[in-house]
């Protein structure tokens, strides 16, 4: 009989996860992680284990979980193909600053480097796409490595961490005590605010007559929604949000001027090139936001607030940098700056809003006849759903339509793949979101392309009764690419038209309630049905096949040159 106090490395890993407060893991088993799954069997009551249908799904689910909850998501997979299947999700988490920890099996230490069965150099593969990637070779390392992994993933600018867990370490028996790490001497996750920078920013803001704030994902990551609101209200500054920052400021806030970027709103894009001081908060001047850099906000003094020093000047050269946690730095700015009012400047956004409404929004959202449009479906869903619903999107026209027309009422309401633009992100991310925010309704918008890119996760939804409300905006096209082909390649529609399966039968196969909307008159009732049904639902909307999303900053163009049609 085993009377000693030792446990296996595999068990130690789970105890370490529990000590970090992990309540859910998204997992897929295999030979070199089987010992961990054996240990999971003993933790069926204190650790929720969601068996996904593909390891990419595990990583996106972990992301969805993290994005809505603010806690680090966890995926457990096997070595080799299991591990390589996580690469897309890890990259996505890196670009969108999402805290996840991926634990992958690895061959035993004596087989490392021999091209053993299902051996790949995961640390080598993932080093460029993680905050930290580490191979656990001995069980003695587990406490330290797990504590360090969670500290790194969740602190500062969050991101993915990979733990490559050798069989040797899984099998070893050790006496285990979890560790806690909140300090690494080579790592400063939250730099202290710098007095001179704060004062320089205050001076610029106080002297500005036409200031504009750009709200990024960093505001939500820093839990600084309240500080942001106080800041813009005191100085009376209009604010625009990036795709990932959309829910950091409620849609109906008086100072909210809409969305930035390629398919954002007209006014904030045009005003970017008219403002005198541009205050960027927790955003990274992605090229989808800036358009051509050489003509981007040249007239403005630029203040850049970020927690990550390497973002300063990476794309846009700031005049004043404000390093630090934006919750602290915004608070300091608000304290020190004077109260002011920019009524005329704010009013000047209105004609542009009206122009956009007349030229595109009205047509997209209130069509009187013709086929259904994406915008009206999104609007109807947003109107009927509870105010704290979470919007999850896939990638493409559906994403742009959903993000433009959804109304954001509470923080952490948008989960979308911004940096990597990963088709297939939506379904698993939405599953993760149902576990990260079980009390909120999760609304998942797809195109027909992206729906099929991780369609196997319908199995996960079925098995767990995950209450994902799936809205499939079916245009029978890889619509976003079709639009570009129309616009830039003389409408030579190469490999973008797609024959679709009968989604009704697919829904039936997974025992998920389904409704098809082909006609405008059916929309309200179908949405009502979707929302009132408990559990998952698929609402397929047969939308106008050749609809384009407008307005648009064409690639290579300036932010203030938005077009309204092709």
């Amino acid at each position: 009989m085993n009377t000693d106090k030792t446990i296996s490395g595999a068990e130690a890993m789970l105890q370490a996860l529990l000590a970090e407060g992990v309540d859910t893991v998204f997992a897929y088993p295999g030979g070199s992680i089987i010992k961990v799954f054996d240990a999971l069997y003993g933790h069926r009551t204190d650790l929720r284990q969601i068996l996904v249908r593909h390891e990419q799904g595990a990583t996106h689910a972990a992301q969805g979980y993290a994005r809505v909850s603010g806690r680090t998501g966890v995926a457990i997979v096997t070595s080799g193909p299991g591990a390589t299947n996580t690469v897309t999700g890890i990259s996505d988490a890196m670009l969108d600053s999402t805290p996840i920890v991926v634990i992958a099996g690895q061959v035993s230490t004596d087989a490392l480097g021999t091209d053993a069965f299902q051996e790949i150099d995961l640390v080598g593969v993932t080093q460029p796409i993680t905050k930290w990637s580490y191979q656990i070779r001995s069980a003695e390392d587990i406490a330290w490595a797990v504590a360090r992994a969670f500290y790194i993933a969740g602190s500062g600018r969050p991101g993915p961490v990979v733990l490559d867990f050798t069989k040797t370490a899984q099998m070893q028996q050790i006496e285990f005590k979890p560790a806690k790490i909140d300090y690494i001497r080579s790592y400063i996750p939250v730099p202290d605010p710098i007095e001179d920078q704060i004062n320089a920013a205050v001076n610029l803001i106080d002297s500005s007559r036409k200031p504009l704030v750009l709200v990024g994902h960093g505001v939500e990551l820093g839990h600084a929604e309240k500080e942001l609101t106080e800041f813009i209200e005191k100085a009376d500054i209009p604010a625009a949000r990036t795709l990932l920052g959309l829910s950091a400021l409620p849609s109906d806030h008086r100072l909210n001027m809409g969305m930035l970027g390629m398919h954002g709103n007209l006014a904030p894009n045009v005003k970017t090139n008219e403002c005198d001081v541009l205050i960027a908060v927790g955003m990274r001047f992605d090229d989808r936001v800036t358009g051509t850099l050489s003509t981007y906000a040249r007239q403005a003094k630029i203040i850049h607030l970020d927690i990550d020093k390497s973002e300063f000047g990476k794309n846009v050269k700031p005049d004043v940098t404000v390093l630090g946690d934006c919750r602290q730095t915004l608070r300091l700015l608000t304290e020190r700056m004077s109260k002011s009012s920019h009524r005329e400047w704010i009013e000047s956004f209105k004609p542009l809003d009206k122009e956009e409404y007349d030229k595109v929004i009205d047509i997209a959202v209130n069509p009187k006849d013709g086929p259904l449009k994406m915008g009206e479906v999104v609007t109807e869903v947003s109107r009927q759903s509870p105010p704290d619903s979470v919007l999850v999107t896939d990638v493409g026209l559906n994403q742009m339509s959903a993000s433009r027309y959804f109304k954001y009422r509470v923080p952490r309401s948008i989960v979308t793949s911004g940096g990597l633009g990963t088709m297939g992100f939506c379904m698993p991310a939405a599953i993760g979101a149902t576990f990260g925010a079980p009390e909120r309704m999760v609304l998942a918008f797809f195109g027909d392309g992206g729906f099929q890119m991780n369609i196997q996760e319908l199995g996960t939804i079925m098995e767990n009764g995950a209450a994902v409300k799936m809205i499939l905006l079916n245009n029978n096209y890889l619509g976003n690419v079709r639009m570009w082909q129309q616009m830039m390649f003389d409408n030579r529609l190469s490999c973008t038209h797609m024959m679709n399966p009968d989604y009704c039968k697919i829904a039936a196969a997974y025992d998920i309630p389904y409704a098809l909307v082909t006609d405008r008159a059916q929309l309200k009732d179908a949405v009502r049905q979707m929302i009132s049904v408990k559990g998952p639902f698929i609402l397929e909307a047969a939308v106008l096949e050749e609809e384009n999303i407008m307005p648009m900053i064409k690639p290579g163009n300036s932010v203030d040159k938005m077009i309204f049609s092709i």
Binding site: V123, G124, Q127, P128, K131, W132, S133, I152, D182, Y183, I184, R185, S186, Y187, D308, K309, S310, F312, G313, K314
Partner: protein, 174 residues
């Protein structure tokens, strides 16, 4: 550029990958222990404009296990390079020019045997390259290797020590 990092496998890769992504060639790279136990020191020479180098510096420093990354222009550091030249001994003995060159460059012979001899030269990069040229002109140069630059800053404060002290006082009880 001088980088200090923890002694953890894989950092070299991460550091060089930043240069590759930014399309800047590394002219020379030296990795060694530093004056602080357990901390590695990388001396990297590269040619790029100030802005590009600053972006590289920030991206390297962002790596979790990198303590500090700083860049210096030539006038801010003392730098040296060591080179070894392997020559055919008969050329050395038969051509008096070669001994003259060795003396002129302040190089020294560290091995002489019947087949080959080894010349060592420590000095600035330019001298090392020039010596290589002169020796190859005479013929009989079998091998040439140089260490790449190693450098010491001229500053009166030691930045890494200062950084570590700051971290210690701030988070000392950890």
């Amino acid at each position: 550029m001088i980088v200090h990092s923890e002694n953890i496998a894989g950092i070299l890769n991460q550091v060089t990958a930043v240069f590759t992504r930014r399309q800047v060639n590394i002219e020379s790279l030296n990795v060694s222990a530093s004056s602080i136990p357990g901390i590695h020191r990388y001396t990297i020479t590269a040619i790029a404009d100030h802005e590009t180098i600053m972006k590289i510096v920030d991206q390297i420093e962002k790596k979790v296990d990198v303590l500090q990354c700083q860049y210096f222009t030539d006038d801010e550091i003392f730098m040296q390079e060591v080179a070894l030249y392997k020559v055919v001994t008969s050329v050395l003995t038969e051509n008096p020019e070669m001994s003259k060159i060795i003396r002129r460059y302040g190089a020294k012979l560290i091995e002489v045997n019947s087949t080959f001899s080894v010349i060592e030269k420590t000095g600035p990069t330019n001298d090392i390259i020039a010596l290589n040229k002169e020796l190859s002109k005479l013929g009989g140069l079998l091998q040439y290797v140089s260490s790449g630059r190693v450098a010491i800053t001229r500053a009166r404060i030691e930045h890494v020590n200062e950084y570590l002290e700051k971290m210690e006082t701030r988070y000392g009880n950890n």
